[in-house]
Symmetry: C2
Subunit: 275 residues, 2 copies
């Protein structure tokens, strides 16, 4: 039980990449992503829908170990009473920057110093929706296996490649070697984000932390600062909102649905589901 509680409470050692997954939608994501599951727990009294039953059947066979548990144990592990009786301990896939290959029209999201798990999860979810090639974490403050990252990403943290650099200089050098134009979201920039800077063949979009924005280290490299026009009283946009506007603008100027075979087939979105 210990790795479960450590992952669920975010108290595991920093290099641990266990993630705890709860609920039918999340288990469906595990199955779709073919993520290896170390431990699967299910509580038959609480598995009530056909979808949950299907997940339970498949994961009992597929997990390294599987246990039937009672509602009390499940509640203790989930930290709440309402549950659909499924709980899994999986490992996030580990990726390194060196192993990533990019096509001619690559798109990368760089998240610099993001502090809140919900924001990091939403960034990954939006990167998934825009078919970004990867998310690059710089000056990481929140781990990708934080339970709230999983939920806010709607499980896309299982499939979107996430790589890390300790500082902007290392990340910028890696992007430069691969021919990326680096576009930095910067409230003070005079260039509007829709004036073409996001249409370069390989584009990296950099968004900064909730409190302090992007770190000054980015400006040692050749980057293009852009801003999003604002007409109100607040001094900035939410970081997930900024990233979505820039990524969707970059996506608009490159492959349209169906025109680029490297682009996954489009789905449509609009309303949100569970954050």
């Amino acid at each position: 039980m210990r790795p479960f509680l450590a992952a669920a409470r975010n108290t595991a050692p920093p290099d641990e990449d266990h993630v705890v997954v709860e609920g039918t939608w999340a288990h469906e994501m595990l199955l779709a992503a073919r993520t290896p599951v170390e431990t699967f727990l299910w509580c038959p009294e609480l598995v009530r829908t056909p979808e949950a039953r299907r997940c339970a059947d498949v994961l009992r066979a597929r997990a390294e170990t599987a246990y039937e548990i009672g509602p009390k144990v499940l509640t203790r592990l989930c930290g709440r009473a309402r549950s659909d009786g499924l709980l899994a301990l999986a490992r996030l896939p580990r990726r390194t920057a060196a192993e990533l290959d990019f096509g001619d029209r690559a798109l990368v999201l760089v998240a610099d110093g993001i502090e809140y798990a919900g924001n990091l999860g939403t960034l990954i979810r939006t990167a998934d929706a825009c078919s970004a090639d990867c998310v690059v974490l710089v000056r990481r403050q929140v781990r990708p296996n934080h339970p709230r990252v999983f939920v806010a990403s709607r499980g896309t943290v299982l499939t979107v490649p996430v790589v890390e650099f300790p500082d902007p200089v290392a990340a910028a050098a890696w992007l430069a070697r691969r021919g990326f134009t680096v576009v930095v979201a910067e409230p003070g920039a005079t260039r509007d984000y829709r004036t073409g800077d996001l249409s370069s063949p390989r584009t990296a979009v950099v968004v900064g932390s909730e409190g302090r924005g992007v770190s000054s280290g980015w400006y040692a490299a050749r980057v293009r600062p852009v801003s999003i026009p604002m007409f109100g009283t607040a001094d900035s946009l939410n970081v997930s909102v900024s990233a979505a506007l820039l990524l969707y603008e970059a996506r608009r100027t490159r492959a349209q649905p169906g025109q680029d075979p490297s682009c996954r087939s489009p789905r449509t979105g609009g309303a949100a589901a569970r954050r």
Copy 2:
């Protein structure tokens, strides 16, 4: 102290519109919005920056009542030790739908059944950035005076008009009487959000709850469902992200900065500040 604690802990009666405001940036928003402050508390030992001192000086004179307090009382009221020594109890302005006037190119955001305070705050912040005329709450689940709404809105809940309707039918009738085209974010819609539906003179954008999307009641009225293309594995976008893409598209097709005198002068954004 009781109204403070009730507002800070979100335990005030539902019709109470007190909001507790903490920190220098938030007090600067109170001053800029000229929000009446009922009670102002400050702790001289913790007021350290010139900006905080200026807020303290102005609010001591302007608040209905003002008290000097010690660090222990402040910590008890804030629920945390780190603070810059300023705390205010203010009232959100009350608006009714009947009192709102709209110009020829009005833009409204409708938030239907939003469940999370952070999302509601971010929606209001984005509506502010896009110079939307108001935010309409339908089937309200979270109060606008929730402390997390204030923080996530970056204080724009003080200035963006927020009005309420109990259900979609009442809201749709009000919008129809005022000549609004109602555009609903709907993951299953076949029309792309960039195909012109958001360019009507008066446009209302409807986004739905995190769990269930927009309520079916909207479809009794004449609405235009649109979707945002998605190329990944997740089944939807975060509601704040959806709203931002639709609002910025609507803003793009109408007044550009400086072209419309009804539009406030533009500022620019990009990185985020405190969520």
